[in-house]
């Protein structure tokens, strides 16, 4: 960003911390953008004429005589169709060597959609993965994270979901993405020949930490343009939100805020909600669906980040390695899509809800039987049957490399029910039993 005429320049810093600095200035607006010694910064606090700025690239080497230039506006992104197929940094500047984007300049982190202007999400997003389509169906306008341990292949699965899902645009917001994972996405999208549908805002581990605070807002501002103005179905991928939260806690810490749970700022819930709630279904067909990644530490979902996220998002997906079949599955117990009720049995076959619940119940019985086995108890005939069922269910339906339609998933489940169980053990409404239960 260049300095322009009539901009006020200040050169007397009164305080410098690792992420922020303060300067004596007047006529400055809250959340206004500025540069400090050429680095982008944003106003976060004003007390009298003492203005505190967070410097995205960090304060290393900044002197008390650094030049502070205020822009008189909040951070913006230029939006137009030219965004398609391009890669940007956290400031919305191209990093792929291409030209600058021409378009309408809009402030990022804009206002919320009036809830009465939203439409209830009702269109399902098929992914071919049974752990999602059958048990935790996704819907346009939904926001849902993968809760994953750092060693799990969440980026691979997310890239797969993104490619299989029907959408007009995919917007990738990468925060603290390792260069390898960044290339994974780039190559996957290029190989699939869909690069024109992709817009990426990337902050890699090589870039300064605080910069990544801008990434989700940039990605979502682009998404809003395509969804609202172009009526497109937009899928936004945010990875990794835990690293975003870490950056938040760094800034709040430098501003001497009292930390709440797990050293996170007290406003974490609102901060995250502001992003996730950009997921929306507009009445005229445009929609923003957010799939995010929140990495966990040792599977602990009571940590403030996954905990607050869980209260905001419409469910969560867990990956799990099923040791019986040696493949990754979407964990049927802990995963949940809250919006599935809007489509299952309505947009899918009528027996879907009951088949789904019954299979999960039997799968839970299998888990209990396994515990019994491990504790050295004898297994009953039923225990043995549920264990066999669970293995086949995992292998033929849940495994993430299986790619089949929802009807096929239901048919396969019915087949397994009949292979291993009797009517009473299934306990599904008679109405569906008479349709799909073939044996007697």
């Amino acid at each position: 960003m260049e300095t322009q005429a009539f901009q006020k320049i200040y050169t007397k810093l009164t305080q410098i911390t690792k992420a922020t600095c303060s300067v004596q200035a007047t006529g400055v607006g809250n959340e206004e953008l500025a540069t400090v010694a050429g680095r982008l910064a944003q106003v976060v606090k004003i007390v009298g004429d003492n203005v505190t700025l967070q410097i995205f690239a960090g304060t290393e080497g900044i002197g008390t005589d650094a030049e502070v230039v205020f822009f008189g506006k909040a951070p913006t992104l230029k939006v137009s169709d030219e965004l398609g197929g391009r890669f940007f940094n956290a400031y919305g500047e191209p990093i792929d060597g291409g030209p600058e984007i021409e378009g309408k300049e809009v402030e990022i982190g804009g206002p919320s959609v009036n809830p009465v202007r939203r439409k209830q999400p009702s269109e399902l997003i098929a992914t071919g993965i049974a752990g999602i389509d059958l048990n935790n169906t996704l819907v346009t306008g939904q926001k849902i994270p993968f809760f994953a341990d750092p060693d799990q292949p969440y980026n691979e699965v997310m890239a797969m979901v993104a490619l299989r899902a029907q959408s007009d645009k995919i917007i990738l917001g990468g925060m603290g993405l390792s260069n390898d994972d960044y290339l994974l996405y780039k190559n996957t999208f290029e190989n699939a020949g869909v690069i024109d549908r992709i817009v990426s805002f990337v902050n890699t581990t090589e870039n300064p930490t605080v910069e990544r605070l801008l990434v989700p807002d940039m990605a979502l501002t682009a998404a809003e343009y395509f969804a609202l103005e172009k009526h497109e179905k937009v899928l936004v991928l945010l990875t990794d939100m835990t690293l975003y939260c870490d950056a938040l806690s760094i800034v709040s810490n430098r501003m001497d805020q009292i930390p709440s749970k797990d050293s996170m700022p007290g406003s974490l819930y609102s901060d995250l909600a502001k992003l996730y709630e950009k997921a929306v279904q507009f009445p005229d067909g445009g929609s923003i669906t957010i799939i995010a990644v929140t990495t966990l530490s040792g599977g602990d979902i009571t940590h403030a980040i996954p905990d607050n996220t869980g209260y905001i998002t419409e469910g969560q997906l867990f990956l799990k390695r099923d040791t019986d079949i040696g493949k990754v599955i979407v964990d049927p117990f802990r995963s949940l899509s809250r919006l599935k009720q809007l489509v299952i049995g309505k947009k899918t076959r009528e027996d879907h809800p009951q088949v789904m619940n019954t299979a999960v119940r039997l799968y839970a019985d299998a888990a209990n039987a396994k515990t019994k086995l491990e504790n050295g108890f004898d297994l009953s005939d039923y225990d043995i049957r549920v264990l066999d069922f669970a293995k086949e269910y995992s292998e033929q339906i849940l495994a993430i490399d299986v790619n089949i339609s929802t009807d096929e998933m239901l048919d396969r489940t019915w087949a397994l029910f009949q292979k291993y169980f009797n009517r009473a053990e299934i306990g599904i409404k008679d109405e569906f039993m008479s349709l799909y239960w073939k044996k007697e």
Binding site: E31, I46, E107, P111, G266, E277, D307, Y311, L336
Partner: protein, 584 residues
């Protein structure tokens, strides 16, 4: 009028240097480029007022002008609120233009042009005081009473009331004379500050009447009463919102106020979409016609979140004073507490537990205390039943909001992660949950009179069976299926029968989603009859298949219309199976 100048901005906390007197909780408007942003004074130090702004403060500058209004945050009460969707400050969301919520746009909660058919109740010469009914207008199906404004504290004599006819809310409908002989014209609108309870009633006795919700695990095991308070804590994914929604759809209340406080916008949209479609079994009209939604979703400004629960409560108190049974649901009160925490943090107050403000327990209990069953001045009754959800951090119930709420609310519906994981919905834990009302002598008497004479004994017996079943299950898990006496399996499966047939309920099935009290009574009696039967088993392996059969048939009964031929067939089949193994 006091004015001020912006001095400092820390997120949505704005410090204002004032020119004259200001009061705590006074509303002011910060003027930014012609747009007025509403804010509330939350602390005053010298001539600096700390205000929380109900909007985004982006672009606000030191030096911006501020106007004070000399009143606290108020709601505007009058006919025309039913079926409306309000934001946290009672702005009508449907009147706001554009897809996005524009800053500084405040809309009128009432419609000044609509005509209402007014019928007088009071007549000239009557002595009246605050909250007394002067007349009524039909609002949807509610007989909306036009009352002596709550702010009028003395006794007045009615000088005149307009005759029956159509009037606008701004038209004078009565003239009252005060003790000094001064005439005061009254129209259909009144204003009231949301943070102050409306107490224009005669008496607030202990609540005693059952409030049917159609949710079996509540009505049967831990009943809610008219004018009672309860809360639903639970980790995310345990089904708090689904449970609250099913209560709202089926509860035996005259009207429902939903305060969606800091929760997901799509959940609010679900209400917007479904309520206008759903039939209200009690009036035969649409559910939306008896509903008011106050919503501040999680992405709307934080400060208005706190206001939203008070706005909803004040509207509830207004309708209660018309002699109505109001059910107020707030989802989630934790978000409101978090909003308090954010502000307390910005004001650099010394933090209490988990960085929440020290007075959190007091704030919560004062709020719950506004619910209740009342006798109005004219002897009529009205009630506010309040059920809030709590979203405890990490699902751990030992956190400040849950603990503070536990002290204030009389019913506790604990949602359990384990039950949710095994899809046992509603995931209300039958052992941890309680309803203090079940210990009230007046409630016991009411239940035994209105349900059946041994109802409370039956309910407590049911709880015992559940508890014994759980103990038996633990023993089986430790010692193994064949390591325990056969009786343990019997005990466990009898509790499982109660769990699967009575406690679990399919909120998405059109029959099972709501169970009237007579049906609950019928089913409980039937199930207890089975539980009290001695069965003969040769080995533990026979127990599970047998009970699975019983459960399967009972579930088919739950899915079938009550006492139809189909239902009776299932029951006959059930009784036949019971006979197979009955001890001679």
């Amino acid at each position: 009028m006091t004015t001020g100048i912006v001095k400092g901005i820390i997120s949505n906390l704005v410090q204002v240097e004032v020119s004259g007197p200001v009061s705590q909780n006074e509303i002011c408007y910060i003027i930014q480029g012609g747009v007025k942003l509403m804010a509330e004074v939350i602390k005053v130090v010298g001539n600096v007022a700390n205000t929380q702004v109900f909007e985004s403060t982006r672009g606000l500058k030191p030096g911006d002008q501020v106007e004070f209004t000399n009143h606290m945050l108020e709601v505007k009460l009058g006919p025309g609120m039913l079926s409306k969707n309000f934001d946290g400050l009672q702005g009508d969301l449907n009147k706001r233009e554009g897809v996005y919520l524009t800053r500084g746009e405040y809309t009128d909660p009432l419609d000044e042009d609509s005509l209402w058919k007014f019928t007088p109740i009071a007549k000239a010469g009557d002595k009246v005081s605050a909250g007394d009914w002067l007349g009524s207008v039909p609002e949807n199906w509610v007989n909306h009473k036009i009352m002596v404004p709550f702010v009028m504290e003395d006794e007045y004599t009615v000088k005149s009331v307009v005759p029956e006819g159509e009037y606008k809310i701004t038209d004078t409908i009565a003239v009252l004379t005060d003790n000094d002989g001064k005439d005061i014209p009254v129209n259909m609108i009144q204003k009231w500050p949301v943070k102050i309870p409306i107490t224009a009633y005669k008496e607030k006795p202990r609540p005693f009447k059952l409030l049917e919700t159609g949710v079996r695990t509540m009505d049967t095991l831990n009943p809610m009463v008219e004018g009672g308070t309860g809360f639903i804590p639970g980790p995310f994914g345990a089904g708090k919102t689904v449970l609250q929604h099913s209560i709202s759809k089926n509860a035996e209340a005259d009207m429902i106020i939903m305060a969606a406080c800091g929760e997901r916008a799509n959940e609010v949209v679900e209400l917007f979409v479904e309520f206008p479609e759903l039939d209200d079994p009690r009036t035969g009209r649409k559910l939306m016609e008896r509903t008011i939604i106050v919503c501040n979703t999680s992405n709307m400004p934080v400060a208005a979140r706190e206001a939203s629960v008070y706005t909803a409560m004040t509207i509830a108190e207004y309708y209660r004073n018309m002699g109505l049974k109001v059910l107020l649901l707030a989802d989630s009160t934790s978000r409101w507490a978090q909003a308090l925490r954010e502000m307390s943090n910005r004001m650099e107050e010394l933090p209490g537990p988990d960085a929440f403000p020290m007075d959190l327990p007091a704030i919560i209990s004062n709020f719950y205390a506004r619910a209740g069953f009342v006798y109005l001045n004219n002897g009529a009754t009205g009630s506010i039943t309040f059920i809030g959800t709590v979203s405890p951090a990490g699902g751990n119930l030992k956190e400040p909001v849950t603990e503070s709420t536990k002290k204030a609310a009389r019913c506790f519906y604990a949602l359990s992660q384990a039950r949710a994981d095994s899809k046992r919905y509603p995931a209300v834990d039958p052992i941890d949950s309680y309803s203090k009302y079940l210990e009230y002598p007046e409630v016991i008497e009411y239940l035994n009179t209105n349900v059946n004479p041994h109802w409370v004994v039956d309910v407590n017996h049911t709880k015992d069976i559940i508890l014994r079943g759980k103990e038996a299950q633990e023993q089986i898990n430790i010692l193994g299926d064949d390591g325990v006496p056969l009786g343990y399996h019997d005990k466990y499966w009898k509790s499982e029968l109660i769990d699967r047939v009575i406690l679990q309920q399919d909120g998405f099935d059109k029959v099972d989603q709501s169970t009237p009290m007579n049906r609950q009574q019928y089913m409980l009696e039937l199930i207890l009859e089975i539980c009290n039967t001695n069965f003969v088993f040769e080995s533990f392996e026979e127990v599970m298949p047998y009970f699975t059969r019983l459960i399967n048939i009972c579930k088919q009964m739950n899915y079938t219309e009550f006492q139809t031929a189909e239902f009776n067939n299932y029951e006959a089949e059930l009784r036949k199976i019971v006979e197979e193994r009955r001890a001679k």
